[in-house]
């Protein structure tokens, strides 16, 4: 009987305590913020998004030297890098003054695949690729999430390709000539050893 009454008392008492707590909270300050009105990037009400938040990736093509390190580090293979070799003297240096060795003809990040792990940031030698705080970039079409960072037009690429082809052809020619010359010189220096072919 004592337990029975105690149970009833506990039931009522704990419910009243719970009601007291929720009643106090009824007049407490709200912790939620209205998102588009109060943007997490401009410190309103709640927490400000820190500047190192890992959101959309940005790649500075002025700095990118096309080393492909980010694409190799990516666990989901969302970065595609295509490069062309630079003909010496043709390209302006990178923003940080380094010599540009590769034209980045295609630098695409598929943000539908990106998992925002931040692994691509570390291997970049020129600190071209960065994670920004930009997070509002939803699209109706998945294709729009393919971000092409390279600004090179098809024409430019074609031109550069031709240039490179010419250059390599020339180089190959030169090399072949040089080789020939070297061979000739060699042949002239030391007479060819007789091979056991002569009959």
């Amino acid at each position: 009987m004592k337990k029975y009454l105690n149970n009833i008392w506990l039931g009522i008492y704990t419910v009243l305590i719970g009601m007291k707590i929720t009643f106090v909270h009824l007049f407490a300050k709200n912790v939620t913020v209205q998102y588009p009105n109060k943007h997490p990037l401009d410190k309103a009400g709640g927490d400000k998004m820190p500047m190192n938040a890992r959101n959309r990736i940005f790649n500075d093509m002025e700095l990118c030297n096309g080393c492909n390190g980010c694409a190799r580090a990516c666990p989901v293979n969302c970065i595609t890098v295509e490069t062309l070799k630079v003909v010496p003297g043709d390209a302006p240096p990178l923003k940080n003054g380094e010599k540009r060795g590769l034209w980045v003809t295609n630098y695409t990040i598929d943000f539908a695949k990106c998992c925002f792990c931040g692994l691509c940031i570390d291997p970049c030698p020129t600190e071209a690729i960065k994670m920004t705080t930009e997070f509002e970039y939803s699209q109706y079409d998945r294709g729009n999430l393919l971000y092409k960072f390279s600004k090179m037009t098809d024409e430019q690429i074609k031109q550069k390709k031709e240039l490179l082809a010419n250059f390599t052809a020339e180089k190959a020619k030169k090399e072949a000539e040089a080789k020939k010359a070297a061979e000739q010189a060699k042949a002239a220096e030391a007479p060819k050893p007789e091979t056991g072919d002569g009959k």
């Binding site: 029975y4 009833i8 009522i12 419910v15 719970g18 009601m19 707590i21 929720t22 009643f23 909270h25 009824l26 007049f27 407490a28 300050k29 709200n30 912790v31 939620t32 209205q34």
Partner: protein, 355 residues
């Protein structure tokens, strides 16, 4: 109703010299009230739950989101009305309307003011109680006809629940009838006139000796509050629709307007029990302060604010408490509430006899 000099019905009939207009008006007024109330209650539920949880709640529709319930009703109206293939279609379609009808029928005898009651029948209390039990038929109907195992579980739970909670509720109501010696809600209200210590929660009108009976009447109030929560399937007794266990219980398969009807019926039921609480225990349309702000018009204000307070208590409790298990629910009803209700009934009866 003999003691009423001029009711709202008579007044309209006199004014328009047509009984029909008065009849239509008196039937539609509660419906209009119900719809307005439901919208307010839905908003209240959204906002109170939000504030309790330190959220803002709906904010987009109108200033502070006050048009949110309208938007929700419109959304529900637009939705596709799905009837499952395997469902028993007549029953499935009938259930929500039966439930709403049962809830709305309760409004027929609710006295909003000393001069306004849609149907001032002498068996008002009996009637309202009967209508409250009718809802369970709609519930079982919906649950069974859905042909869904979760719905079936919910429906069967609800039967067990309502059947067991009717008993303490009925005994409490009987005790009030003993105190008031009437089943007419207007008479019960009129009995509690004057200052607030004449309310039945404080033992009703009487001498200083009524202090002895106050613990019992207050206990009755608590019992009826708990039983009314169970009758309206609100937390902590929301096992027929216990979200985390049986998904949505009896209305798992409902969508669109039919779901809205269940929704409306729940809120209507909430008001009916809240109204009954305020009528039986808190003087209904009587002002708490004697003649201060008393009268037919103020009566509407007092009645509605008292009822809204109990609706608020229901919402408040819902966002505070966890849910009981089905066997504990029955245990509370049969092992605790029914004996206590009998005790109260006995005490009140004794007091009424000796008074």
């Amino acid at each position: 109703m003999e003691h009423q000099i001029l009711t709202f019905y008579d007044w309209v009939a006199k004014l328009s010299s047509s009984e029909l207009v008065a009849l239509i008006l008196i039937v539609t007024l509660p419906l209009v009230f119900l719809i307005v109330y439901a919208l307010v209650a839905i908003l209240g539920e959204l906002k109170i739950s939000a504030f309790i949880q330190e959220r803002l709640g709906p904010m987009r529709t109108g200033p502070w989101g006050i048009i949110q319930p309208v938007a929700e009703v419109v959304k529900l109206l637009q939705k596709e009305d799905i009837t499952p293939d395997a469902a028993n279609k007549p029953l499935f379609n009938m259930a929500p309307f039966l439930m709403f009808t049962a809830a709305y029928a309760g409004f027929a005898v609710i006295p909003f003011s000393s001069h306004f009651v849609p149907a001032g029948i002498n068996l008002g209390l009996f009637y309202i109680f009967a209508m409250g039990s009718l809802a369970v038929i709609g519930l079982v109907m919906g649950g069974w006809a859905s042909n869904n195992k979760y719905s079936l579980l919910g429906a069967l739970r609800s039967v067990a629940q309502i059947v067991s909670y009717e008993i303490p509720a009925a005994i409490v109501i009987l005790s009030i009838v003993v105190l008031a010696s009437s089943m007419n809600l207007q008479v019960i209200n009129a009995n509690q006139g004057g200052w607030f210590w004449n309310w039945y929660v404080f033992g009703g009108p009487g001498s200083i000796w009524k202090l002895l009976v106050i613990p019992f009447t207050f206990g009755m109030f608590l019992l009826y509050l708990i039983a009314s929560l169970a009758e309206t399937n609100r937390t902590p007794f929301d096992i027929p629709e216990g979200e985390s266990e049986i998904v949505a219980g009896y209305h798992t398969e409902y969508s669109g307007m039919k779901f809205a009807m269940f929704f409306f019926a729940e809120y209507a039921n909430m008001f009916v029990v809240a109204a009954l609480l305020s009528i039986l225990f808190f003087g209904g349309w009587n002002s708490p302060f004697g003649d201060f702000m008393n009268g037919p018009i103020w009566g509407v204000f007092w009645f509605i604010s008292k009822s809204f307070f109990f609706v608020f208590v229901q919402i408040w409790l819902r966002w505070t408490l966890p849910r009981l298990r089905v066997d504990q629910l029955m245990g509370v009803s049969w092992k605790v509430m029914t004996p206590v209700a009998f005790l109260c009934f006995f005490a009140v009866g004794l007091w009424a006899m000796l008074k």
